[in-house]
């Protein structure tokens, strides 16, 4: 039972890394808190659901469409909202208030449009039967979702650590003022990061029916809590820490669900409180900001 909990926890950890990465990328680059992150995940879930329900589109194909459309939608949203936020005296606090409002609007519109029923996509769409990994049987849908998550996370890390624009992005993460002084087009770099962050949230949404069981317009709050727990455990604003945070969160969640299932829903809150009390900088937090 322990081995199964740990292995499935690692699989879920890959997925939760994807859930947290977009939020952390946006916070790291822009120092704004996108409280609507969970609702973007929800929109991704409904996009995948309707594409499957209406035209029978496979979620793997939906994921490519969602990635492209959400990234493209993120760009105008960035230019409409973020530069004004960043010009404000306390952009972090203002962003919390603004995106809280956006979250409420998205949730209200989604409730009116989709109703309050739970929507799901059958797991067999991603493959039937259990998959045996290290002697443990896991649903194929979990493994496929985790594999796609891992691929997306790897591509983001390649972008950040192996590309020219990625280096510029990390420079903005380290010090926005110095980035401006060095001639980096900070808004272009930030808009790209915002688009990628929104696209990652949408992608996480596509696989949420398989990993979280179903999608509802009200799921954004819970997803946000999980995403915040993941990035606070790793290190707020440091994308490398998100993987560590995701894996710890996934394993802890599965251990709780296996041995203390009644308490499992409290896990994000418990982890957030524990990390903030013991190591507020996160496990990878350092005095010098490193991106």
């Amino acid at each position: 039972m322990l081995a199964h909990a740990i292995l499935s926890g690692l699989v879920f950890g890959c997925y939760f890394t994807l859930v947290g990465l977009g939020l952390n990328l946006i916070f790291g680059v822009m120092r704004i808190v996108n409280l609507a992150h969970g609702d973007v995940v929800m929109l991704g879930a409904f996009a995948a659901f309707w594409l499957f329900a209406l035209i029978g589109l496979h979620p793997l194909i939906s994921s490519l469409i969602v990635l492209a459309i959400f990234a493209l939608l993120g760009l105008p949203v960035y230019y409409l909202v973020v530069p004004r936020l960043l010009a404000a005296r306390d952009s972090e606090m203002l962003s919390i208030i603004l995106f809280f409002g956006v979250q409420q609007i998205i949730e209200a519109i989604a409730t009116i449009a989709f109703g309050t029923s739970e929507r799901s996509i059958p797991g067999r769409v991603l493959g039937s039967g259990p998959l045996h990994l290290l002697g443990q049987a896991l649903p194929v849908a979990w493994v496929v979702s985790a594999a796609v998550s891992l691929l997306a996370v790897a591509l983001v890390y390649l972008y950040l650590y192996r590309s020219r624009v990625g280096t510029l992005t990390r420079a903005v993460m380290v010090n926005r003022d110095e980035a401006l002084a060095s001639g980096i087009d900070v808004h272009r770099v930030s808009a790209l990061a915002f688009g990628i962050g929104v696209a990652l949230a949408g992608l996480a949404g596509v696989f949420s029916p398989f990993m979280l069981g179903s999608a509802t317009p009200a799921m954004g709050g819970d997803v946000n809590l999980a995403a915040f727990a993941v990035i606070v455990i790793g290190s707020l604003g440091d994308p490398r820490g998100t993987m560590l945070g995701g894996l710890i969160y996934g394993v802890a969640l599965m251990l709780m669900q296996t041995y203390m299932s009644a308490w499992a829903n409290l896990l994000p809150n418990l982890l957030l409180i524990a990390v903030l009390l013991v190591r507020p900088t996160g496990l990878l937090g350092r005095q010098v900001r490193r991106a």
Binding site: T167, A179, A181, G183
Partner: protein, 236 residues
């Protein structure tokens, strides 16, 4: 005949409602070293930030290579080969090589590789640590990296904000020695400083006091007119 590279006329700017610059102007010619001397709070950093585009000019005009750049963004000015080295000067959380690549972001790749090889020759202490984080360097080495990063842009003009800040006299002498090596290479320097040791490098000097230019001329004239004392102690 010398070519005028940078010209700023009648600049005013500040922060919020607080005006710091009052009709300030200066000029730098190609390959010339100009020192902008002033005490703390004289407005040196504000003036440099307006020149590089980090702060908007409330009024006045800035020309670089006879082109009006007053409303251009900082990245557009750097593209025109006007580099800026702030007091921090580097990204501590990135490696030395990454810092140089950011400095040379607008230089074509092949040219940048050659440029970086040159810079590692000029700054041998950095060459062996190219994959180390800038945060692992000493204060003096960070300053050298800051200079190298700005030079990676292959600038026509390098604008420097207090390169001596936080350095011991020994490292200040080292920074001056390094900058002296670039005299005669076609690079123009505009150095904002309160350390008079940098006057050794200067072709011309401006003094800044209360956001206004007090003196403009050669180092010899500066000493003759006793403008140095006025800039620092408000005498006369």
């Amino acid at each position: 005949m010398a070519t005028e590279l940078l010209r700023a006329d009648d600049l005013s700017s500040g922060y919020g409602k607080v005006r710091v610059l009052w009709g300030t102007g200066l000029a730098v010619e190609a390959a010339e070293t100009v020192v902008l001397l002033g005490a703390n709070g004289a407005g040196k950093t504000t003036l440099l930030k307006v020149l590089i585009g980090l702060l908007p000019a409330w009024s006045g005009r800035i020309e670089f290579g006879h082109e009006d750049i007053t409303r251009l963004r900082p990245d557009q000015r750097v593209r025109r080969r006007m580099a800026y080295m702030s007091e921090l000067g580097v990204f501590p959380g990135l490696t030395i090589e990454e810092n140089l690549r950011i400095g040379g972001q607008f230089v074509p790749p092949a040219q940048l590789r050659a440029r970086m090889a040159e810079l590692f020759e000029t700054f041998p202490a950095l060459a062996g640590k190219r994959h180390a984080l800038a945060s692992s360097l000493s204060g003096g080495q960070r300053k050298m990296l800051g200079i190298a990063k700005a030079l990676a842009a292959d600038p026509l003009l390098l604008v420097m904000d207090e390169p001596s800040a936080g350095l011991s006299p020994l490292f200040v002498a080292e920074v001056i020695a390094v900058l002296r090596r670039f005299r005669g290479t076609g690079l123009a320097l505009l150095i904002a400083e309160q350390n008079v040791a940098f006057l050794d490098l200067a072709d011309r000097v401006y003094t800044l006091d209360g956001g206004r230019i007090g003196f403009s001329g050669t180092v010899a004239a500066l000493h003759q007119e006793d403008a140095l004392h006025r800039a620092y102690f408000g005498l006369g």
